[in-house]
């Protein structure tokens, strides 16, 4: 199952403050251990929301409003994402709890969201092949 670990933005990240070398080292080591465990699918940092744009539909059919950032921090902004593929929710939570946090920069947090599963039922190649034959006959 895939989980998206979203690191919440803080005033510091929004202001583009350098989180410091120790933190960066910790993040690097954390990602290495994710990769070594074979669970890492993606890990990215986001630029502050001043580099973001919102497309807002105030009411259904109307033309959207396009608004550039920065946006209010209390609206739950995101500073970074880590996408992992694990076997259990517990495993995902453990990885989230191990995620390094910049020290001395006030409250911050991580939100875990499970992604919808892609249809990954095991495929039977023989059935697939025979279905292809059938479609061929039917000119589909």
């Amino acid at each position: 199952m895939r989980y998206l670990l979203m690191m919440r933005a803080t005033g510091f990240t929004e202001a583009g403050m350098n989180p410091g070398g120790t933190y960066k080292e910790a993040v690097k080591a954390y990602r290495q251990s994710l990769a070594k465990a074979g669970v890492l699918l993606a890990a990215e940092e986001l630029r502050p929301s001043s580099a973001g744009i919102r497309v807002v539909y105030l009411s259904g059919g109307d033309a959207p409003e396009v608004r550039p950032g920065p946006f209010p921090i209390e609206q739950g902004l995101i500073a970074g994402i880590t996408l992992i593929d694990v076997d259990t929710e517990e495993e995902a939570l453990n990885w989230a709890l191990r995620m390094p946090i910049p020290s001395g920069q006030g409250s911050c947090g991580i939100e875990l969201r499970r992604l919808e599963d892609r249809a990954v039922h095991p495929r039977d190649p023989r059935q697939t092949a025979m279905e292809a034959e059938l479609k061929d006959y039917l000119q589909l």
Binding site: R123, A129, M130, E133, K135, Y137, L140
Partner: protein, 422 residues
């Protein structure tokens, strides 16, 4: 030879030799991940030396000796378990060029077989089995695998890392299963190989060179498997199936990349060598004297088309009989429908329709758009055009595949027009 030429040659050598290297090293170090690392180390050394020293006469043996030395160094440094150390030390001492030849030709085959059973082990997910097998037994890079399946390279890489960890954690042994387990495990291996093949064969999207690559690799692996497990009829059956299907690879798509129906293909362009090889493999499966399994049966069906010079020469009665046998072994709605089509072709659409009417009551087929599609086709052949048109429309409403939907609506409209004219 220029440096780039040498590198290309090394690439080819790597493709051919790396599975044997990894298999032999896994037997020694009992860790497939470590074995791959050691083989890679040997490759790096070769890439460094061969451009200046020239490629050795027996590159496989050279790589193996180098990798074993690396293994020995590593074990010495890490002071791993004494037993491993002793085993490898003994092997290295015994190694002469002749021994390596023998190992590469004969005994290594057992190692290769063990490796296939390991990478296709049921503790791994189906996707992981495919990725790991392509990596370790076909020598494909993660990039090539990713492109073949249209997924991100990081996904493939991580899938492989996890698969290796799982094999270690579950202590999956490096051995060929015996007795009753062999049959079950073999079918998993065959499934992985055919899945690879089919992925390459059936896909119309994707890069033009990666898709055939999957077919080629699956066929190569299948041939290896049949050669090292010659007593398994289904291994030959699978090879036969893939050889014969491959014979049509070039004729099944036109210059615009659109698929050409089996009955419309230029049969003169089918690859006769591959067909002969396929028929020979089928013959080997039959000579083992056991009831044909699903792969051999499916190969026999494919062979019926391959030996028919024109579509009208097709032996539909035999095909219907083969589908009947297949149905008994692996009952499935898709086989049922294929059988109905074959019976319709063999004995007339009315008989096919009779079967389809029975299938109409089958709960597992409710909502499956190919059922009304087949029914519509048979009704059309019987001249019951209005009913046929309604069936095609019903089928179109059931599928979410836009392209298929359009084709079904077209067939519905054609039936309606034809019906109004008469």
């Amino acid at each position: 030879m220029s440096v780039s030429q040498t590198h290309r040659t090394i690439d080819t050598i790597w493709r051919m030799e790396s599975p044997k290297l990894i298999a032999g090293l896994t037997r020694m170090v009992r860790d497939v991940g470590l074995a791959e690392d050691l083989a890679q180390d040997a490759l790096v050394i070769a890439l460094d030396r061969w451009p200046s020293s020239g490629i050795p006469d027996k590159p496989g043996a050279w790589l193996m000796t180098t990798a074993k030395r690396r293994a020995l160094d590593l074990l010495r440094r890490n002071k791993l378990r004494d037993q491993k150390y002793v085993e490898i030390a003994r092997e290295i001492d015994l190694y002469t060029e002749d021994d390596i030849d023998r190992a590469l030709d004969g005994e290594i085959e057992d190692d290769l077989l063990r490796l296939i059973f390991m990478t296709c082990h049921p503790v791994l997910s189906q996707d992981a089995r495919v990725a790991l097998t392509l990596r370790l037994l076909c020598g494909l890079t993660t990039d090539e695998i990713a492109r073949s399946f249209l997924i991100a390279e990081s996904t493939v890489a991580q899938r492989i890392v996890r698969a290796k960890r799982t094999l270690n954690m579950e202590k999956v042994p490096f051995e060929v299963p015996a007795g009753k387990e062999l049959g079950e495990r073999l079918s998993t291996v065959l499934e992985v190989i055919y899945l690879m093949f089919n992925e390459g064969y059936s896909a119309t999207s994707g890069q033009s060179w990666t898709r055939p690559l999957l077919c080629q690799e699956a066929l190569r692996l299948g041939r290896v498997l049949a050669a090292i497990a010659p007593g398994e009829p289904e291994a030959h059956g699978l090879v036969a199936l893939m050889e014969i299907q491959s014979s049509r690879l070039k004729t099944r798509i036109n210059a615009q990349g659109e698929p050409i129906l089996l009955m419309d293909q230029n049969r003169a362009l089918w690859d006769q060598l591959l067909i002969r090889r396929g028929l020979a493999a089928l013959e080997r499966a039959q000579r083992l004297g056991r009831t044909l399994g699903p792969y051999a049966l499916q190969a026999s069906i494919t062979a019926c088309h391959a030996v028919a010079r024109t579509p009208s020469d097709t032996d539909w009665i035999r095909i219907a009989a083969l589908y009947e046998a297949l149905l008994r072994q692996t009952p499935s709605p898709i086989v049922e429908l294929n059988r109905a089509v074959a019976i319709g072709m063999a004995f007339g659409p009315a008989y096919g329709l009779q079967l389809v009417e029975e299938l109409n009551k089958e709960p597992s087929l409710q909502g499956y758009h190919l059922l009304p599609s087949v029914r519509g086709d048979l009704l059309e052949k019987l001249g019951r055009l209005e009913e046929a048109s309604a069936e095609f429309e019903r089928a179109a409403a059931m599928t979410r595949n836009v392209q298929e939907q359009a084709l079904l609506f077209r067939r519905a409209a054609e039936c309606k027009q034809e019906g109004e004219r008469t």
